[in-house]
């Protein structure tokens, strides 16, 4: 069997493998490599997660309870389907406000309760001058949903 035939066979072999690899990777990539879970994913998963995990979602409007003297906060994180109550004591990032997207690192305390150890605020891909937002709000065009 000449070198050319060997290489041809190995090429075919490799192509088949690459095709199946791409299929497997693309088919499963979404379910992988989770930086954070959404509240729905967290509530639906059966495994009791003892370790530190991260949850991500939006802070429900008018849910933030501040106790300013000892930096203690309570708020509700939602993904519009399910809600989780989060407790946190510490310093909040600048961007933290109601309606903002957040990623919270911490442990599950009980049914739909979460004790946060770190909070990251997530900002979206929209960039808009602050003045325009005011104008939009005045004219009631501001309908960004959280």
């Amino acid at each position: 069997m000449s070198i050319k035939y060997q290489r041809l066979i190995i090429i075919i072999f490799s192509l088949i493998l690459i095709a199946s690899a791409i299929f497997l990777i693309l088919f499963n990539s979404k379910k992988n490599f989770v930086f954070f879970l959404t509240p729905t994913e967290l509530i639906n998963s059966d495994k009791i997660l003892k370790e530190q995990i991260r949850i991500g979602g939006y802070i429900k409007t008018k849910s933030l309870i501040k106790q300013k003297n000892n930096n203690y906060y309570e708020f509700i994180v939602t993904d519009k389907e399910n809600e989780i109550k989060v407790k946190y004591s510490g310093i909040l990032p600048d961007l933290f406000r109601e309606g903002q997207g957040v990623v919270i690192e911490g442990k599950i305390m009980g049914k739909n309760e979460f004790l946060a150890s770190r909070i990251f605020t997530k900002h979206d891909e929209n960039y808009m001058p602050a003045s325009i937002k005011k104008q939009l709000k005045q004219k009631n065009y501001w309908n960004k949903e959280y």
Binding site: M1, S2, I3, Q6, R7, I10, F13, S14, L15, L17, I18, S20, A21, I22, F23, L24, I25, F27, N28, S29, K31, N32, F33, V34, S45, D46, K47, L49, E51
Partner: protein
Amino acid sequence: MQIINSITALFYKEYKIAYKNLYDILTIILFFLLGIFIFVFSIGPNEEIFQQIGIGIIWTLLLLSNNLSIKRFYQNDFKDGNLHLLHMSGMSYELIVLVKLITNWFFLQIPFFIFIPIACLMLNIQNDNIYLILLTFLIGSPILTSIASISGSLNLLNNRNIEIASIIVMLLSIPVIIFSFGIIKAPPELIKPQLSFLIGILLLFVSITPWICAACIKIAIRNS
């Protein structure tokens, strides 16, 4: 068929060398076990901590012991002209690489299947997780072998800065570590998709390794 004879001859030789260098293979395993000792002593024998980070320790040490085997792939055969001799016997470089991958996986990674459970016991890892570690290692170890092979062939003529070979191995192993560690930590319903993702990475590496290594070997031989 001449080609089959050549392949069996190469297997025969690799087996003979592996058998005669059994102590070298045992050294790598000893490195793995001693590494675990070092971790235990440096963190302190705390069962809870090890249950959390034990899997990470085992995978890290598997990766590091994989580093030790980089030079066993092509370095000797390249220096004494055996790679060209094999090529002259009618084997293409890609085929040589494939045979080398199989033998090196067999002789260097299979022994770990005995020693991983022992390491897990030393670190008090739960039984369910031991099965998962073995399963991920079954899929992950051929990837590690391919990576070591790629790195070894990239550094065939590198006699100045062989450390960079280890760096390349570590860089390319990062996806393996991320996904095999992810499987063990994942909730049960995510295990299957993650496993198939890891298999996808395995297939990808196995299919591209012969071509990359053969190209590197050709370049090295042309410039020797």
